[in-house]
């Protein structure tokens, strides 16, 4: 069956040459002649075919015809391409639209979280996760939220059982990390959190947080300010200004809220910053000694800072999105923009 082998070889060679053919009239014609012309390879195979036995003819005929058909089709395609380019060999319609590579999109909040995490990771923070279904102990008590304290009203909670709930912040991850690791501890805690608040353009029952914690000997408020300043300048641009003002969180003392100068108006006042020139972006403070005590870290020996921010809110500010629900609707025309 040497003929079959040769036929396969011709087919193989044809496929290889096909890719090398230049798309101009002369080259295409030369290529056609080489394979299908009177003296071409394929008619030569057919000439040989005539001398085979009936049995062999039966075996080979189909294959040879198939090869001939394939080759003719390929050359037709080449000719069509030639026509579409035009008779004028130099004409090339460069205005035809390109074929865009089709890549997906990460959710804008994922992108924001990743950007935040990567800046803090460069500074040396590791990343920890924790469960969304939490206990009252990890979500509140260990974080110095006493039972029946008005501070609990700051975070409306979904309950599953008497002391089982959906975490209202990612701070329980900090407690879990401090139980597990010994200082120095530097972790980031990203994740989804839940608040039992009416759904509106400004609030959704689930959103995200990225929190950070650094515990070591001699961690100071100055260090916290320095760290957050680097973050803000890296994330919002090096001209951004920060404003720290005292606030209250049960798990830090002192506590502060941090505003950045509005990056839309540069601080002169606009609709986004409600004409204050400032945007509130994160909360922070020095870890409360009671929190250290609940995880068995000596508050006399160690100090620490913690901070937390909402990537949903930051993404909204950054991209000018005025309705948080868009993040959870999955409209691809929305997602396609990021």
């Amino acid at each position: 069956m040497n003929l079959l082998d040769r036929a396969e070889e011709v087919r193989f060679q044809f496929k290889k040459d096909l890719f090398k053919v230049k798309i101009d009239i002369q080259s295409v014609e030369n290529f056609r002649l080489r394979y299908l012309g009177k003296k071409g390879y394929i008619p030569a195979l057919f000439r040989e075919f005539t001398s085979l036995s009936v049995e062999d003819k039966h075996k080979c005929g189909k294959i040879l015809n198939q090869i001939k058909k394939e080759s003719e089709n390929s050359i037709d395609t080449l000719k069509q391409r030639l026509n579409s380019i035009g008779i004028d060999e130099d004409f090339f319609d460069y205005t035809l639209p390109g074929k865009l590579p089709r890549l997906g999109h990460l959710h804008p909040v994922t992108q924001t979280m990743n950007e935040i995490c990567s800046i803090f990771r460069e500074m040396g923070f590791g990343i920890e996760f924790g469960p969304e279904v939490e206990t009252d102990y990890y979500n509140f008590q260990a974080l110095n939220f006493p039972k029946n304290h008005p501070a609990r009203d700051m975070q409306d909670t979904f309950f599953i059982g008497d002391s089982i709930l959906l975490r209202t912040h990612t701070s329980p991850i900090q407690i879990r990390a401090m139980e597990k690791q010994k200082p120095p501890i530097r972790i980031l805690a990203p994740g989804r959190v839940y608040r039992n608040e009416a759904i509106s353009a400004r609030s959704f029952c689930t959103f995200h947080q990225v929190e950070g914690l650094y515990v070591d000997e001699n961690v100071t408020f100055c260090e916290l300010k320095g760290t957050l300043e680097i973050f803000a300048k890296r994330y919002f641009g090096k001209d951004v200004k920060l404003r720290f003002r005292p606030s209250y969180f049960p798990f830090t003392e002192p506590s502060a809220e941090v505003d950045i100068s509005c990056f839309i108006c540069g601080g002169s006042g606009c609709r986004v910053c409600k004409h204050t020139g400032w945007l509130e972006i994160l909360g922070c403070g020095m870890v409360d000694p009671n929190v250290f005590i609940s995880v068995g870290i000596d508050p006399e020996k160690y100090t620490g800072y913690a901070f937390g921010m909402g990537p949903d809110r930051i993404a909204m500010l950054k991209y000018g999105i005025d309705d948080i629900r868009l993040f959870f609707e999955g409209d691809i025309r929305f997602l396609n923009q990021f």
Partner: protein, 795 residues
């Protein structure tokens, strides 16, 4: 908490503009926002006097008013019932644009020309009151712009108080904070009233049954008061902080509440039976009617104020209607008490009722401010309503509330903040805050907190005060950070992000769906599970935690399809939860990722053909994905599930990993009204991440040529391709490097019950050039086996 600058100035000189005050307060932790009055922006509304009112000839409800602005006189048609001769009123002149956008033009109303409008509060954007025109104080100067006139009433500032600062729930409290900033002196109002001969003790006795809930209770009786409307100054003061005037007695207690932060309650003394107040817990289910006219059932943890027979108030929350002050009230009983914050908070939560009083008790009032508050309200009542003050106060204080004594170490302050702070300055600030310095030396200072600052209990609380008053904005940022990279590396995050980015590289869009779903959606699972239910959901549609990511994806697909985005490739990565089958309370939490595709998987483009979604695209996704995580040769099995038309499942090392298939069209139609086919993949991300292996060993590239052959056969339709594949691999032996299935054809030229398939085989070995003969031998063997074992026909 709203404060008014004019009111604050009673207690402290304010050298700041309202805007400066807003900023200064914010910087010391009282986040402030000036309440912009809509009137500020109005020009052309001026104060006028109504000179004359006559009925409109053609309309019963209208009147024609002659008004004077001092420099002009005009006729205005007015429909308000309360307009009267002699009133000072806001008059909108022609050409003025009101906050609601209305522009005043000369109009004829039922045949009479009207040249302006007398405004009601709602028309000026001040309130929603449209019951009548706004009537101003009779001393209001004619012709003055209303905005200018009202600015004399001070600026109201809304303070978003943090729960640790009960002391700032009053004007004096905020004034004290300002005094620290300005070094000014706090002016506390003097008490002037004189007591009569009759003793309060003869009129009232107080008995406290629950001394933990009520450590202190003080009462006084004032006889023969005259209930009347409040004077304008009091109405204006209360209005500036958002409180509606009721009568002189009730307003006096609101005023003292806003001044001192101490909630007071006034009872009609004649409705108190047995000259007695008893503070006790309610009985379970006890029914009372509160001042707002609502009947409420109480729990046994709620504290009640009772007379000898009946309850008269819910302690610290609201009085009851049976003892309310009415226009007929003659003698009054004043209550000033300290209730425990937990008790009041529980009661307020249980009843779903939050009041100015409960807001303050929950945070903790000043136990030593109680007597002063009684005296202050007495003074005001005597001034406004007359009456005789009974001698003395019945003051029951069975459980002393003592302020904390704390040692604050200077070293600790500096160590936590990171800069050295002057010791003398620290002591000065503590004194300014109202602390008593008991002892101090070079190392530390021993302080006793003021009774109005229950939040100052520990050293840390004092350090916070230091930094707060020093100014966080003045503390320098560390220029060189001491933080060093952590060696506790958790690679989970990187793996998750790798997974996300690979899915993204396939062209899929990441979506986020709500984790809270309806009960029905929790049933979409591959095996029955017990879903996690919320006790207090926002709505029934969001009463459970999701047990699968798929319903969320289908919902998102439906929303997109309805908006004519019909070609979708979307995925979500997130947690699902359900109860551990072995435990009723422990929720399992599993990291999943799911993919949904429908419609075309490519954008339309000239010169290219579009491919449609199908199951094999998802099969390819999971094969490639696992390959990238170092997991090879997945085995798929056919599975059954009512939500699916075709369903495949696969494991990794015996762990259930992934299902994929086409959703049952009837289900899509009936449950989601979706007509088009939808394909989904549901995978356990944890299994993938746990089993991932990234040990890549390089294989040398072949140096000897390969020989390619095709196997084209006709095969009975029902024989799976994988079976053919296995036979080819076995017969191809060590020479066969690769088998690729590349053509499947039914129909024309292929008999019924058969399919035409083609494999491409690549033969190659690492150490030599293969000979045709060797390959021929293998090909023959393959053909034989396919013919004999599978009944295949060569083409």
């Amino acid at each position: 908490m709203i404060v008014n600058t004019k009111w604050l100035e009673k207690y402290i000189d304010i050298p700041y503009s309202p805007e400066e005050l807003e900023e200064h307060l914010t910087y010391i932790g009282l986040e402030s926002k000036i309440q912009k009055s809509p009137v500020d922006k109005i020009r052309g509304v001026i104060i006028a006097e109504v000179l004359d009112v006559s009925p409109h000839p053609n309309a019963d409800r209208l009147s024609i008013c002659k008004v004077s602005t001092g420099f002009d006189m005009q006729d205005v048609v007015c429909g308000a019932p309360n307009v009267a001769k002699g009133q000072k009123v806001p008059l909108a002149l022609l050409g003025t644009v009101l906050p609601n956008g209305m522009e005043l033009k000369p109009v004829k109303i039922r045949g009479i020309n009207s040249e302006g409008m007398i405004c009601a509060e709602d028309e000026l954007g001040i309130s929603s009151d449209h019951s009548g025109i706004m009537v101003l104080d009779e001393k209001a100067p004619l012709g003055m712009e209303l905005s200018e006139y009202l600015s004399g009433e001070g600026t109201s500032i809304d303070i978003d108080l943090t729960p640790n600062r009960p002391d700032c729930t009053s004007h004096i409290g905020v004034a004290r904070e300002i005094s620290i900033l300005t070094q000014g002196e706090l002016k506390i109002p003097e008490i002037k009233f004189k007591e009569s001969e009759e003793s309060t003790e003869d009129y009232i006795d107080v008995e406290i049954e629950n001394i933990d809930g009520c450590p202190r209770y003080a009462a006084r009786v004032i006889k023969n008061v005259k209930i009347a409307p409040s004077p304008q100054w009091l109405i204006n003061h209360l209005k500036s902080v958002g409180i509606r005037s009721i009568n002189n007695i009730v307003d006096a207690s609101s005023f003292v509440l806003m001044e001192t932060g101490q909630p007071l309650h006034t009872f009609d003394y004649r409705k108190i039976e047995g000259k007695k107040i008893v503070v006790r817990n309610a009985e379970e289910g006890e029914l009372v009617e509160t001042l707002d006219g609502i009947k409420r059932a109480l729990s046994k943890d709620i504290l009640l104020i009772c007379d000898a027979k009946h309850p008269v108030a819910i302690a610290g929350v609201m009085g009851l209607s049976n003892s309310e002050i009415t226009p007929e009230t003659k003698d009054i009983l004043i209550e000033s008490a300290y209730f425990s914050s937990t008790t009041i908070r529980n009661g307020s939560k249980y009843l779903g009722l939050s009041t100015e009083a409960s807001y303050r008790f929950e945070r903790g009032v000043d136990p030593e401010g109680i007597i002063n508050a009684v005296n202050r309200i007495t003074d005001i009542i005597i001034e406004l309503a007359g009456g005789k003050v009974c001698k003395g106060i019945v003051d029951k204080y069975p459980k002393k509330i003592s302020p904390a004594e704390v040692k604050v170490r200077f070293k600790r302050i500096n160590r936590l903040i990171g800069i050295d702070i002057e010791k003398s300055w620290v002591k000065e600030i503590f004194e300014k805050l109202g602390c008593r310095i008991l002892k101090s030396d070079d190392e530390s200072v021993q302080v006793l907190s003021p009774t109005w600052r229950p939040d100052l209990e520990r050293e840390a609380d004092y350090i916070e005060e230091v930094i707060r008053i020093y100014g966080m904005h003045k503390i320098p940022s560390a220029k060189r950070l001491q933080i060093k990279p952590s060696n506790e590396v958790n690679s989970r995050y990187d793996l998750i992000e790798k997974l996300r980015s690979i899915l993204c590289s396939y062209g899929y869009f990441e979506v986020f769906n709500n984790s809270l779903v309806s009960e029905k959606q929790t049933q979409f699972t591959f095996k029955p599970v017990k879903p996690v239910k919320l006790r207090n959901p926002l709505s029934l549609d969001m009463a459970y935690l999701r047990t699968s990511l798929i319903p969320g994806l289908i919902n998102t697909a439906r929303r997109n399809i309805n908006r004519r985005n019909c070609d979708l490739q979307i995925f979500e990565l997130g947690f699902i939860q359900y109860f551990d089958p072995d435990s009723e309370t422990h929720a399992m939490e599993i990291l999943k990722f799911s993919v949904l595709i429908t419609g075309a998987i490519e954008d339309e483009h000239w010169g290219y053909q579009i491919r449609k979604s199908d199951v094999f695209i998802l099969k390819g996704v999971i094969e490639d994905l696992t390959h990238r995580f170092g997991i090879e040769s997945l085995k798929f099995e056919k599975c059954k599930n009512n939500y699916f038309r075709h369903l495949l499942g696969t494991n990794i090392n015996g762990k259930e990993f992934c299902y994929l298939g086409q959703i049952n069209q009837e289900y899509l139609q009936s449950e989601w009204s979706i007509e088009v086919p939808i394909y989904v993949l549901d995978a356990n991300a944890s299994v993938l991440l746990d089993q991932a292996k990234f040990e890549i060993r390089y294989k040398p590239l072949p140096i000897y040529p390969a020989i390619e052959r095709d196997v084209s056969i006709l095969l009975p339709e029902k024989i799976p391709i994988e079976e053919v594949n296995q036979k080819i691999i076995r017969e191809g032996g060590e020479l066969l490097r690769e088998v690729k299935f590349y053509d499947l054809y039914y129909g024309k030229n292929v008999d019924n019950g058969l399919k035409s398939i083609t494999f491409n085989l690549v033969f190659q070995v690492a150490d030599r050039t293969l000979k045709d003969k060797e390959v021929d031998k293998r090909m023959l063997a393959i053909h034989e086996v396919l013919k004999n074992d599978l009944n295949a026909k060569l083409r």
